[in-house]
Structure formats: C-alpha cells, structure tokens
C-alpha cells in the first residue's frame, strides 16, 4: 500500500513460469533474486523463467515477499516462517533448491540446503540411501578401498558400514 504523500509508484514486474503462468510482484522484492536483478538492469519487466514451474514459483514468491518485509521487529516471525517453509516433501524441496539456485536467491539456497542437511544428520548409511533414494554404486572391493583410504572417518570401527545394504 503506497503512502498517499508519495507520488512515486512501486515498479511492478511480471514473472512467468515454465507453464506460462504470470505473476505480478514488486521489483523491490523480486530483486532478492540475483537472476531477476540482472534482467531488471537490462530493462526487462516481463521475466520469463523457463526453469521454474508454477507451483515452485508461487512458493518462491511467497518466500521473497516475506523476506522483503524484513525489519528488526519481525525477525522471529520470519524465523518461524522459514521453519514452516521447509516442512515439505523431498520432491518439493528439490524443485525449490534447483529454482533458488537458478534464481540466485542466496538466503533461500542456504535455508533449503540446511533443511536437507538436517534430514541427513544422525542417519545411518542405509537410512540416507532409503530416504534420498540413492542406490549404492560401490562394489564390495571399492567399499573396502574407500575404508582403507579414509580411515580418519572410521575411528569407531566398521559398525557404521551397513553391508546388508548391498
């Protein structure tokens, strides 16, 4: 809401998703994205984002709007927002981090990467593989070689290597 005393209008941009859905957003908020900022500097007002689908773009706009309103008084509010923001499925988080990376929104990339990291913490090798759907591409010989080469990681012995996962 613009103040009545101010004569300048807030510049609006249009962001277009890969599915050609268009969203209007204030430029001052959109430039939290380095990619968008560069395009604005090249005088774009309609910003096509072929790498970002509609669902993901909506979430990103929501994030940028919240963080665009950052003041000293609402820091806790934003923290709460961030905590809730990352409570999503792995697919959603993956799409978000890829989009945030493409858009160069550093704070969002860090938030999402930490969310992934928090889901990895204190999990066994097998659990990590299952949660993230990563197949084991080591042969038993390679596995033994890795163990030998990186003994620094195995001070507690072999109990963390789950051979039943092969």
């Amino acid at each position: 809401m613009a103040s009545s005393s101010k004569t300048e209008q807030k510049k609006m941009l249009i962001l277009k998703s890969s599915e050609e859905e268009e969203f209007e957003i204030e430029e001052s908020i959109a430039v939290q994205s380095g990619t968008i900022k560069n395009m604005v500097e090249d005088d774009f007002t309609l910003i096509p984002l072929p790498n970002v689908d509609t669902e993901t773009l909506i979430k990103i706009i929501k994030y940028m709007k919240k963080h665009g309103e950052k003041t000293k008084s609402n820091e806790k509010d934003i923290e709460e927002f961030d905590k809730e923001f990352v409570k999503k499925s792995f697919t959603e988080l993956k799409e978000l981090v890829l989009a945030a990376n493409y858009l160069h929104i550093t704070s969002l990339i860090d938030l999402l990467c930490q969310a992934f990291a928090d889901r990895i913490k204190n999990k066994s090798v097998k659990a990590i593989r299952e949660i993230f759907g990563i197949p084991n591409d080591f042969t038993p010989e390679e596995e033994a070689e890795v163990y030998e080469q990186h003994k620094w990681a195995h001070e507690e012995g072999k109990e963390h290597i789950d051979h039943s996962a092969y």
Binding site: E19, E21, T54, F90, I109, F116, K121, R129, I134
Partner: protein
C-alpha cells in the same frame, strides 16, 4: 488449436486444460517418448515410471555445488556415513571436508556464507576462507631460524662434522647456567 489437438490425438496424447492466463493447453504424453520431453525431463519421466523410481536419486540429481553446500551443513560425525552412501555423495563430501570442516569449527551456519562461492574448484586454493586460522607448514614462534640453529641439538649422531660445533655450544651454554 484444433490442429494441435488432432496432432496430440494421433500420437496418443491427452489434453489438459490449464488455468494459465495465456490459455495455453498443455499436452501430457501417455506414452513415454523422449522426443517430447523438454524443460523438465525428470518430472515428466516420473509420471511414466513407478513412484519408487520417481522418489529415487533426489539428492544425486542436484548439481554438485548444491550437494557440497548440503554436506557442509551436516555434523562432523555424519561425514563418515556420507562417505559410504554413493560415489557422487563421496565426492561432494571430500570437497566439503576440505572447504568447511578443515577451516572452521563445524556449526550449523556455513562459514563461507558471505564469501564468493567459487565456480571453478581449481581456484579454491587461491580463495581465502573467512575466519580461517592461519595454517603454515612451519610453526610460528618467536625464535628465528638462526636462533633455533644455535640452540638445537642433533638428535641422531652422524658422521657429519657440522654437528660437533653445535654440541659444543650447547655444552657451553649448559655450564653457564
């Protein structure tokens, strides 16, 4: 639009009415045909395959720089487990170990958050890590090399006569004390 619909029908496509402002109709392939997959290949392939295949390789599909950022966010103890997950994850763990865990106390926030993230990993040695303790091959003490040479004693006897003058000096110093 009608022609488009006809083409879609011929190759077994079905139309989905999109709610976009541009009123563009999106064709979803019923038959897995790689020629028609454009911007989001993994997403469209997932619709064709079983859900279990779709869930797989979430993490490995990410670019390596993001994988490294993720690994940098885990605790030190988790590194050893990540080493054994897969080759891709191991590579990311190795880089993260060099970058993050060797230069700062592992903590939740990234040590290099404000630093320029290098695009070329070969340049990593030239980039200074913020708040990194200075590491040098030689211990920094108040003694110069010359002073060290004067008071040092050869630990191993050798036929090298250069060692003898040092020993004498040491003995002289000892007696003075």
């Amino acid at each position: 639009m009608a022609r488009g619909k006809k083409i879609c029908e011929n190759v077994g496509f079905r139309l989905v009415r999109s709610t976009s402002f541009g009123r563009k109709r999106v064709c979803l392939p019923d038959i897995a045909d790689l020629d028609f997959i454009s911007t989001t290949p993994t997403k469209k392939l997932c619709r064709q395959n079983s859900f279990s295949t779709c869930v797989k390789s979430h993490l490995e599909a990410l670019p390596q720089d993001i994988l490294i950022r993720i690994v940098c966010g885990v605790d030190h103890d988790d590194l050893k487990r990540l080493f054994h997950v897969s080759k891709t994850i191991r590579e990311a763990t190795l880089v993260a170990k060099r970058w993050h865990f060797e230069y700062s106390t592992p903590r939740k926030t990234l040590g290099f958050m404000n630093a320029t993230f290098p695009l070329n990993w070969s340049e990593s040695n030239d980039v200074e890590v913020p708040n990194a303790p200075r590491q040098s091959k030689f211990p920094r003490t108040g003694l110069s090399q010359k002073k060290l040479a004067d008071i040092s004693v050869a630990l191993f006897t050798s036929d090298d006569e250069e060692n003898w003058p040092r020993r004498e000096l040491f003995m002289q110093m000892d007696t003075k004390i």
